[in-house]
Amino acid sequence: MPFDFTKLRQDLARAVQRVCPTWDAVRRDDLVQAAAMRVMQAVERAPARDGEGQTRFATSYLYKVAHSVLIDEVRTLRRRREDELPPDVAATVAGAVHGPERVAASREVGRAIQACLTRLLRDRRLAVTLYLQGHTVPDAARRLDWSAKRTENLVYRGLADLRDCLSSKGIRP
């Protein structure tokens, strides 16, 4: 069965939305297009198994390639933005949508979160890290191979510890 590039583009778009939520729609579309093109070109270059033009690659294999391609494209576009714009203008652009103070404050909080995570008990840290990554509690439980109830308790207590730690640093997100 031919590979469904339309679906791949949709899934790439979802992934880009998760990773680059502050980027405007045009830049996100450019990123999706660049990543999809690289995967498409790679598939077209590869010879078919039986000469009938059907791709030989399993979908999972191509999605794995798409993963590394997308990571690479995100970094390339970020580097290009840093190289093309003077620092003060880049900061202005970054803050244009979300406000420069909010961008800087968010990153400061992010660094503090990382520091506080290192002080949590390991199991709480694992559960909270997945929660901060956007996973639901049931999904986090599955990925950690723990019960849903245990994971929920760990996230609950871990977030409480995290907020206490942030408060001690003068941060109240």
Partner: protein
């Protein structure tokens, strides 16, 4: 305090925003680990170890988010079927297969399995690599090895670059293949390569393995 507190979104946003300022990219080895972890191919303790690293490694965390999003799309792919049930995780199936061979009696599973059939590919996982992911292999002795399939099986092996340029394709009747050194001409040391094994059962049924990663010395 309850979960799904409105402040949670602020914490999530702040944590995830660090990806914008990651000092460097993930290594190919880490990208491989992330992909395998998000597709449930890593054993649980290795997944947890990777998640532990994510807490303070923003590049790793970002790679995870991308992988999780793409894996979600893959799970929704109607051509591959629904997301694999928990029992179908490869390492769990390897344990189950071992129990079948040892006792041939009752096996606890979350889902019913088809009746055993020596001629058809079982619901067990495809072959697994015997080479640790990301290993550096000598170009003059580039030997790929994997766990054996059933008697009478043959193996179709494909090796590609990350851009899916074909490096080598081979058919073997043993779980091992030696890739000629001239296939790596012009490749810098450390070039990552993908490889995959498709096991062909005596019945003709095919089962593809996961995608593995090695590097050429």
């Amino acid at each position: 305090m309850s979960l799904h507190d409105s402040r949670d979104a602020d914490l999530q946003r702040a944590f995830q925003s660090l990806g914008e300022t990651a000092p460097g990219p993930c290594s190919p080895e880490d990208l491989e680990l992330v992909w395998r972890a998000t597709s449930d191919e890593l054993p649980a303790e290795e997944r947890r170890a990777l998640i532990d690293r994510m807490a303070t490694d923003e590049a790793l965390a970002e790679a995870w988010r991308v992988a999780a999003a793409l894996q979600g799309g893959l799970a929704r792919d109607t051509t591959t079927g629904p997301a694999r049930a928990m029992w179908a995780r490869p390492w769990m199936l390897a344990v189950a297969a071992g129990l079948v061979a040892a006792t041939a009696t009752v096996i606890y599973q979350r889902e019913p399995s088809p009746p055993p059939d020596t001629y058809r590919a079982p619901a067990a996982a495809a072959v697994t690599s015997l080479i640790p992911d990301g290993s550096l292999l000598p170009r003059h002795d580039f030997r790929l090895q994997w766990s054996p399939g059933p008697e009478g099986a043959r193996y179709d092996v494909r090796v590609t670059t990350e851009e899916l340029d074909l490096v080598a394709a081979a058919t073997a009747d043993q779980p091992e293949v030696l890739i000629p050194a001239d296939r790596f001409d012009g490749m810098p040391r450390g070039t990552p390569l993908f490889w995959q094994v498709e096991t062909v059962w005596p019945s003709g049924e095919r089962r593809a393995s996961a995608t593995f990663t090695v590097r050429v010395e």
